[in-house]
């Protein structure tokens, strides 16, 4: 078993375990922390695929900015395990069963495929900061600039929604 496979398995187990912990933990703060761990595991996968730029962006944007924002909101509302609204048991069971069978269906559909499509691991320079930066600022410069407008509008929207009504 190569070191790459071992890393893949470890990261996968970590991602899935942390995701499960995320949806099962009572306290919202714990959930956020578990989710951050999931994002770290996914970033590890990105590294494994030699997509270094995305791995970094994922940690900075998701684990850094977005999850901290979540954490702020949770703390602002002073949410904890005691205030957590709980669904009734039956609805939870239905949700788990339907979600689980969806997973089963999709997985079994994959298993029906016999052919092999290997994925390029560890090598390839498409995901490096340099080549991706070239692509982004040459071929995708217009969408990149427009995305700043998107951020601006999102910011204004957040301000207007969150503003206290007088």
């Amino acid at each position: 078993m190569s070191i790459t496979t071992l890393a893949f398995i470890l990261l996968s187990v970590m991602a899935v375990t942390c995701a499960i912990m995320m949806i099962t933990s009572k306290s919202p703060v714990n959930s956020i922390l578990w989710l951050i761990l999931v994002f770290f595991a996914i970033s590890g996968h990105y590294v494994l695929l030699n997509a270094q730029f995305l791995a970094i962006v994922n940690i900075i944007v998701y684990a850094g900015a977005i999850m901290v924002l979540f954490l702020f909101v949770v703390m602002l509302m002073n949410l904890n395990a005691d205030t957590e609204p709980v669904k009734n048991y039956r609805l939870q069971l239905i949700g788990v069963i339907s979600g689980g069978s969806l997973l089963l269906v999709l997985l079994s559909a994959i298993m029906k495929v016999k052919e092999q499509h290997p994925v390029q691991m560890n090598i390839g320079d498409a995901g490096l900061v340099k080549s991706l930066g070239m692509t982004l600022f040459k071929d995708y410069v217009l969408p990149f600039e427009i995305s700043s407008v998107l951020f601006l509008s999102a910011m204004i929207g957040a301000v207007i929604i969150g503003k206290k009504e007088n």
Partner: protein, 630 residues
């Protein structure tokens, strides 16, 4: 100009009269309506006479094609008229007797409102039109149009006094009974079309077309056609409408329910004799039905007290005689009897109308008597009619009835015996009627006696004409045994064959002698019995059964009307209310219940929507990946 160019006018003229009288019934005065109604029929009669002369002179006017009526892939039904010896004879009867009755009606119906008066003449003209169409039609479909048309007019005219519920019921009864027969006729036509692919007389009655028909086909078709004939011509089991049809005005009874419409069945069978001669089973059926009808109706007529009812049952009985002739293959005799019967039965109906007119609407002979003193013309002409129908030598009925009896004897002496018995009954009840009505003392109220009078000329003239015809009408068919040549048979020969069997003259003399002697005995017996007639109480025993018409109406009511009513009420109460309404309401309830149950899905809870969405996606994926044929 050839007469054949005028043929289309024969049915069109009464139709024009119908349109004028029908549309202008609120504008036309009685005089105009009467003149228009009578004149068109007279004009038709004149043309019919010309056509008849033409044919008699030997110029054959065969089928006339006007236009394509129904044109299907293989089936081509033209609007054709077939004018031959048979139909020209019927044309004469219809328009001739029809004209006399129109003339009579102008006087008889004079007390009606001018609006109703014009309506009456419109219906009468429509009837003549339909009847002409029936006999002139060159194929079964055109005949069927006329066949339905006369049924409709019969309904309209029986229910002419529609404000009387009983009359309306009688009209409905006649219509329904006729419809039953018409259905048989229609099915027969369909069968014929299906098997031969054609409907025109000229093509059906050829050996080529008949070869296509198996024995079963011929028997089936003829039986169905005969069912049609039993409806229209009032034979067992569909005869009960005819006595009730006397609810209509008396001239209508004379024209439709004695002289013309009821002979449509005879005409149809005579027209299709080629088919019927092939169908021996059907011929037996016709013979039996005809004879049974003749006996049954004659026995009922003995005990009836309504003057028109007696004549009605007499008509049914005479029609039975005609069917007996048809069944024994004696088509000429049947047509001959149609001719003479049209004369004397129309005469007697018009005579009874005259009596009713004089009695101020009274129809019960128990309240009459001694009318001969006051109404000489009516009395004498009625007596002539009675003598004619009884078959006294020298009168028209003798020749035609004798021919039927002779044919029956040649077929089977038992038939002859039974038919003779029916003839004796005929003589008995006719003279019972005559003696009770016209001789003895008057038994009505004083006021009625004071009112008694002879009818005006417009009523007596047709009586006289018909009386003359009733006497001389038979001389067109003097049998060879009496030194004649039977000109009618010779005339009809191209259209209707003469009976195959010929009796030797000795036998014929014997038959005539027997029947004449017995009829005379019967008449004398009736005369003696009823000379000093006094109304009795309720009849008892057998007489009561006869008076109640063998309880046939009650029987029909019990075995047909009641079960049908029960079925209808079952359908209405159970099937409709519980079943159909149940389904409709059940659908509504199910939707209501289902929507109430489904409402929880629309909970407004985001989680529920997401759950449903996931289940939906799951379902779609399953279909996508695992359903084998997708």
């Amino acid at each position: 100009m050839s007469v054949s160019k005028l043929i289309w006018l024969i049915p069109i003229l009464p139709l024009i009269g119908f349109v004028i009288n029908g549309l202008g019934r609120k504008l036309l005065s009685k005089t105009i309506a009467g003149v228009v109604g009578s004149t068109v029929v007279l004009a038709s009669f004149v043309i019919s006479l010309l056509v008849f002369m033409e044919i008699k002179a030997g110029h054959s006017i065969a089928t006339i094609h006007f236009f394509d009526f129904i044109h299907l892939s293989k089936l081509n039904i033209g609007f054709d008229f077939k004018i031959d010896q048979l139909s020209s004879l019927f044309l004469l009867i219809i328009t001739g007797v029809g004209f006399l009755i129109h003339l009579y009606s102008t006087s008889y119906m004079h007390e009606e409102d001018s609006k109703d008066f014009a309506k009456y003449f419109a219906y009468l003209n429509l009837f003549v039109f339909s009847m002409l169409l029936l006999v002139m039609g060159g194929n079964f479909v055109i005949m069927f149009i006329g066949w339905e048309g006369v049924g409709l007019c019969s309904y309209l005219l029986i229910g002419y006094w529609y404000k009387n519920q009983n009359y309306t019921n009688a009209a409905k009864k006649a219509f329904v009974m006729n419809r039953i027969g018409d259905l048989g006729f229609l099915l027969g036509i369909f069968w014929l079309i299906a098997k031969t692919g054609t409907i025109s007389y000229d093509q059906v009655f050829t050996t080529a077309a008949l070869d296509n028909l198996s024995d079963t086909d011929i028997t089936g078709i003829t039986l169905l056609l005969f069912v049609g004939a039993t409806g229209k011509s009032a034979q067992i089991p569909l005869y009960t409408w005819l006595p009730d049809a006397m609810a209509g005005p008396t001239p209508v009874s004379a024209l439709i329910h004695a002289a013309t419409m009821v002979t449509a069945g005879i005409y149809m069978i005579a027209r299709s004799h080629v088919l019927f001669s092939e169908a021996h089973f059907t011929q037996h059926v016709i013979t039996v039905i005809g004879l049974a009808t003749a006996l049954l109706a004659a026995s009922i007529a003995i005990k009836q007290n309504d003057i028109k009812k007696v004549l009605a049952y007499s008509t049914v009985s005479q029609l039975g005689f005609m069917f007996l002739a048809l069944g024994t293959g004696n088509y000429v005799a049947a047509v001959f009897h149609v001719l003479t019967h049209a004369f004397f039965k129309a005469l007697m109906f018009l005579g009874s109308g005259s009596v009713i007119h004089a009695m101020g609407g009274e129809q019960d002979i128990r309240n009459m008597g001694g009318l001969g003193k006051h109404m000489r013309i009516t009395s004498i002409t009625f007596l002539i009619g009675c003598l004619a129908i009884s078959g006294i030598p020298g009168f028209s009925g003798f020749f035609s009835k004798d021919e039927i009896l002779a044919g029956a004897y040649a077929h089977n002496p038992v038939l002859f015996g039974l038919a003779l018995f029916a003839a004796l009954l005929t003589a008995f009840y006719m003279f019972r009627l005559y003696v009770i009505t016209f001789t003895g003392k008057f038994r009505g109220t004083h006021e009625q006696e004071h009112h008694l009078h002879e009818s005006p000329w417009a009523m007596t003239l047709p009586l006289i004409v018909l009386a003359i015809l009733s006497i001389i009408g038979g001389y067109v068919g003097i049998p060879e045994a009496l030194g004649g040549h039977h000109e009618l048979a010779a005339f009809l020969q191209p259209a209707v064959p003469t009976a195959a069997h010929q009796l030797d003259h000795g036998t014929e003399y014997m038959l005539m002698g027997i029947s004449t002697a017995l009829v005379l005995v019967s008449i004398i017996f009736a005369w003696m019995k009823f000379k000093n007639y006094q109304p009795e109480g309720e009849a008892t025993g057998f007489g009561k059964i006869l008076q109640n018409k063998w309880y046939v109406d009650e029987l029909y009511h019990a075995i047909i009307v009641k079960p049908l009513n029960a079925l209808s009420s079952f359908l209405s109460n159970i099937v409709d209310k519980k079943g159909i309404d149940g389904i409709v309401n059940g659908v509504g309830k199910a939707v209501n219940y289902g929507s109430r149950q489904l409402r929880w899905i629309q909970s407004g809870q985001v989680g529920a929507y997401v759950l449903l969405m996931v289940i939906g996606i799951l379902f779609l994926f399953i279909v996508q990946f695992f359903y084998p044929f997708w």
